[in-house]
Amino acid sequence: MVPTVTATQAIEAFARRRSPANALATDADAVARACYAMADRFDAGGRLVVFGDRASNCDAAHVVVEFVHPVIVGKRALPAFALPGPDFAAQIGLLATSTDIALGMSVGPPVGAVRDALRAARKAGLLTVGLFGAGDGSPIDYPEVAEHQFVVASDDPLVVKEVQVTTYHVLWELVHVFAEWSDRSGMSR
């Protein structure tokens, strides 16, 4: 048979993204607080240390380039690097300091190396941020692995990734907003 797909299938596929993507708006206050804390760390000389499990590897690299080489001309470069893995916790111990920020990503609940690294980072005094997917469970009553964590309410790893891309784009922008506000007001946070 000749392969066929219809435009309706494409429209339905896009429609499945709407609800989990729009749910990010309900996290807007938490996103703002995370960015305020991140800006504080950068202000104190901290660096962003990023890591993700297999499906989030590319996103870890994407986050780094966002911070190091901003798409908006005139924004300052902020220090960020990705951990190569597979033992992220050990690499936190070797490469990070207590003033740094650990950003761990997975498209499902945090398990294995990402969870272990966030726990090690928190214990070592790093600010911890987690981007996760709900998997088959609910984002409500999700175990707290990072101080600031954002759980996409979808069990589709592709949809989770898409919402996480928006989330880390927003994190980058708002960190700069807080940094500029701090510079203008002359207040130490």
Binding site: V5, R17, A25, A32, V177, F178, R184
Partner: protein, 223 residues
């Protein structure tokens, strides 16, 4: 950045100093800006779905036909788009969940070749040269650029077209030079995310290549 004053008035509407906008108000304004961005990407995805649903289905069928005949997918892009190129290749090659693995690789992951060409020749040829070496007429080239103007992506797609490969492009803004390349016939399927925000463009492109992957799987299953 356009609209930034409207999003963050506290950065602009008062004199700096300790009597400026307080933290609570700043947090509230920043939270509101996040809500607006979420609404923007929702509208952009809707616009892309409405504009391209038919073309995406056609593109998926064309890609499926190439895969069915033994064709391979080669992906490429710069910066954040290089990470998307890697993600596209990984998705096709190793999808998991019972989906059909398909031959795909990201040219951006061959750092040895990429840096050799950039150092010895020019950055413009880093995708065109590997395509000229490895590409075959039945293969598929997949180039991503948020601006639509990346010279090396354009060169890569032009070379792939010359070889007889199926060429697929993702762009943003109004398509830039990639729109012109599509008019010349060098890009068989071009999907332009109609936005002037690099971030929203990348987010919509991510959804677009995910949907395209899903449709290719459906097309292959239907045959």
């Amino acid at each position: 950045m356009t609209g930034v004053e409207a999003l963050y008035p506290f950065l602009y509407d008062r004199p700096a100093g300790v009597n400026g906008t307080g933290l609570e108000e700043v947090l509230a304004q920043v939270a509101h800006s996040t809500e607006r961005k979420v609404a923007e990407i929702d509208q952009l995805r809707e616009a892309v779905a409405a504009e391209y649903a038919v073309r995406l289905a056609d593109c998926a069928v064309a890609m499926a036909a190439r895969f069915a005949a033994g064709g391979r997918l080669m992906t490429f892009g710069n910066g954040g788009s290089s990470t998307d190129a890697s993600a596209v290749a990984a998705r096709f090659l190793d999808p998991g969940g019972g989906a059909r693995p398909l031959p795909a690789f990201a040219l951006t992951e061959d750092v040895a070749t990429l840096t050799a060409l950039a150092n010895d020749v020019s950055f413009e040829v880093v995708f065109a040269r590997p395509l000229a070496a490895a590409g075959r007429a039945g293969d598929i080239a997949f180039g991503l650029s948020t601006s639509g103007g990346s010279a090396n992506v354009l060169r890569g797609l032009a070379e792939a077209h010359r070889l007889g490969m199926l060429t697929v492009g993702l762009a943003g803004y109004a398509g830039g030079a990639m729109a012109e390349a599509a008019e010349r016939g060098e890009i068989d399927y071009l999907f332009v995310m109609p936005s002037d925000s690099v971030h929203r463009i990348q987010e919509a492109q991510t959804s677009t290549y995910h949907v395209l992957w899903e449709l290719v799987q459906c097309a292959l299953a239907s045959a």
